[in-house]
Every structure is written in structure tokens, then in C-alpha cells.
């Protein structure tokens, strides 16, 4: 299959503004967007810069914008998304571009840290495991399955307008703890996410849910946090 990649490139050493560069390559029919990028780098242009690691959709390195939508380059087949054998590839939005397709995720990680992203226990730990129902575990696995790729963060217009907004990924992470019966800091965490930079900033646009490559559904997590906050304010739990 013959594919044309139009890649938004930017080298901070030499460029004052980003520009598109076009590459034509021959790839197998089953090739992924990442396979194509790697082929370009291997054969045509070693300066092309992008992050990648696991190439199986679990490490979260290669989120980028492919034909106007955030995707993991590694688990997106070219044939599924190419528009007349053409792909337009851009870096994630809402984050400063370091070079080509690699963006600076520092603010993203700061927000991850801001929600106190670890289990806090009260009292003695049991000798073996805490008893938790499998239904609960399965419910939380959906949110814990987030790979922190940043696709949702790029797709969210609120992150674009308010750089202080915690964003979908961090809020989904917060719900993963708030919903966990083993965690003892529910009140504190609801306090953090209940600020004006948190859940109430969300305008329920669902872009995060649309682009999430792992089916995490951050909007759902945010709505569950809103519900938990309302219930707490009303003294219902």
C-alpha cells in the first residue's frame, strides 16, 4: 500500500514556526501509523522525531493527532484512518511541542501529582488482602486502565482555555481512588477535585471519552465525582 504522510514538523533549533513535510512510503496493508513513521525514520529521514515504546497500545508513548483525531499511532491501522491513502499527522494539542511529534508533558504530570495519586490507608493493614468485591474491582479497573497517554488532555477544549484545569486524565485517576473502598482519603481528594479547577470546570463535552484509546471514559469518571461531591454536600454519604 502506498501512503502519503503529511507530518507537522518543528525543530526548535532551526524553525520559527511549524511546517508540514510530505513523505511517500510503501507499507504492508496491515501497517499501523507507527509502522509507517518508523519506516520513514529508518529509510528516508532519520531526523523525524516521535516517541514510541511498546507498540502495543499499553505504554502511552505515541499518542498524536492523526487526521484530526487523537490516536495511539501504534494501535491505529493506516487503512482504517487514511483519507484517500493520505495521513495528516500532528503532535498532541494543549502542550508545548519539543520537537516534531514530541510534546512537553510536564503540566500533564503535575496535574497527575496534584490529585494525590496513591492509596492512603487508615488504621492497621490486614495480614493478607483487603476483601473487595469483584464487581467493585472490575468497575475500578476501567479507570485504572488509563495509560496516561495524554490523548484526552489534547482533545479537551477546556484544557485549551484554562491551563490550570486538572483535565480528564487526572480526574479519572482521582475517581479510581475515590471509588476504592481501601482508600481512606475520599474527603480530601473530593476537596481537591471539587475546586474550580477541577470537576466543575468540566463542561461535559465528551471529547476525552471519544478519543480515549483504552475505553476509560473520563467524562463518566468526572460525572461520578460530581455525583459523589453532591451526595457528600447533601449529607448522603
Amino acid at each position: 500500500m502506498d501512503v502519503t504522510y503529511r507530518i507537522l514538523r518543528f525543530n526548535p533549533d532551526t524553525d520559527s514556526a511549524p511546517h508540514y513535510e510530505t513523505y511517500r512510503i510503501e507499507v504492508p496493508d496491515s501497517a499501523t501509523v507507527l509502522d509507517g513513521l518508523q519506516a520513514i525514520k529508518d529509510v528516508q529521514d532519520g531526523t523525524l522525531t516521535f516517541r514510541r515504546s511498546c507498540r502495543q497500545g499499553i505504554c502511552g508513548s505515541c499518542a498524536m493527532r492523526v487526521n484530526d483525531r487523537e490516536r495511539l499511532a501504534c494501535n491505529t491501522q493506516i487503512s482504517h484512518v487514511a483519507d484517500g491513502n493520505e495521513l495528516r499527522v500532528e503532535p498532541l494539542a494543549n502542550m508545548a511541542v519539543i520537537k516534531d511529534l514530541a510534546v512537553d508533558m510536564t503540566p500533564f504530570w503535575q496535574k497527575f501529582n496534584a490529585i494525590v495519586p496513591y492509596t492512603i490507608h487508615a488504621g492497621e493493614r490486614p495480614e493478607r488482602e483487603y476483601l473487595v468485591s469483584n464487581e467493585k474491582v472490575r468497575h475500578l479497573q476501567q479507570f485504572a486502565g488509563c495509560i496516561q497517554c495524554g490523548a484526552c488532555y489534547s482533545a479537551c477544549p477546556i484544557v485549551g482555555s484554562d491551563p490550570e484545569y486538572l483535565g480528564p486524565a487526572a480526574l479519572a485517576k482521582a475517581y479510581r481512588f475515590v471509588g476504592d473502598p481501601r482508600d481512606a482519603a475520599k474527603k480530601e481528594r473530593l476537596g481537591i477535585v471539587g475546586s474550580e479547577r477541577g470537576i466543575w470546570r468540566c463542561h461535559t463535552i465528551f471529547n476525552c471519552t471519544e478519543v480515549c484509546p483504552k475505553g476509560v471514559d473520563p467524562t463518566y469518571a468526572i460525572e461520578l465525582l460530581k455525583k459523589a461531591t453532591i451526595r457528600r454536600k447533601l449529607g448522603l454519604g
Binding site: 518543528f10 485549551g160 461535559t204 460525572e223
Partner: protein, 126 residues
């Protein structure tokens, strides 16, 4: 200098259902505010005496304004229905149905607008 892409999903063709709902909600909100201001100005004419108020009422009873009222009904309907949609989500209800709920709100609002136009055409300006 580093750059960043912003608002990539607000471009035509790259908009998801939720983005359309979000933008329409804001546009209708602005529209309602403008209506409210107009409304206050018209009603406010009453303090300037009977003649002024009658003139204002005559002005807004023109066919153009009556058809605009039909539009207003549609805008109110969408803003209200979509508002209920969002409140339902905040209560943890109906999230899985966000797309059909949006389209239902939109279609209902358009129907109300069309009904308004029909009423204006067939009942008021017969």
C-alpha cells in the same frame, strides 16, 4: 520558540457530537442574553409613557419579530433541554445516552421552532 496547537476540535469537520452540543449551548445562551436585553428595552418603554410603549409594541408586532419569536422558542427549548441533559449527567444519569439525548434535544427544539413558524403563518398572519 515552542508552539502549541490549541482548540483542534473546534474546526469544522473535526467536531464531535459533544463539541457541537457545547458550542450550541453557548451560542443559544448568548442569544438568550441578547433577547433579554431587547425585552427589557421594549418593556422599559412603558416608563416613557403610553405613546412610547405603544410604538414599541407596534414595532415588535411586525412579522419579522413574530418570526424571530418562533426562533426564540426554539432557542429556549434547546438551551433548556440541553441544560437538563447536562444536569442529568451531573447526577450520574444518562451518560451512555449523551449522543441520542443531544440529537433528541436538537430535533425537539427545531420542531418547536417549525411549529412556531407555522403558528405565525397560519394563525397570526392569516
Amino acid at each position: 520558540m515552542a508552539y502549541r496547537i490549541r482548540y483542534p476540535h473546534i474546526r469544522p469537520g473535526a467536531m464531535e457530537t459533544g463539541t457541537i452540543a457545547w458550542i450550541l449551548h453557548r451560542v443559544t445562551g448568548v442569544f438568550l442574553t441578547l433577547y433579554l436585553i431587547t425585552h427589557i428595552i421594549v418593556i422599559g418603554q412603558s416608563v416613557r409613557g403610553k405613546e412610547a410603549f405603544d410604538a414599541a409594541l407596534n414595532f415588535v408586532q411586525s412579522p419579522l419579530f413574530v418570526f424571530l419569536d418562533a426562533g426564540l422558542a426554539g432557542v429556549v427549548a434547546f438551551h433548556g433541554l440541553n441544560g437538563l441533559r447536562i444536569i442529568a449527567f451531573d447526577m450520574g444519569v444518562g451518560i451512555r445516552w449523551q449522543k441520542p439525548l443531544f440529537w433528541a434535544s436538537l430535533i425537539l427544539s427545531v420542531l418547536i421552532f417549525v411549529a412556531g413558524v407555522w403558528v405565525a403563518r397560519n394563525l397570526i398572519f392569516v
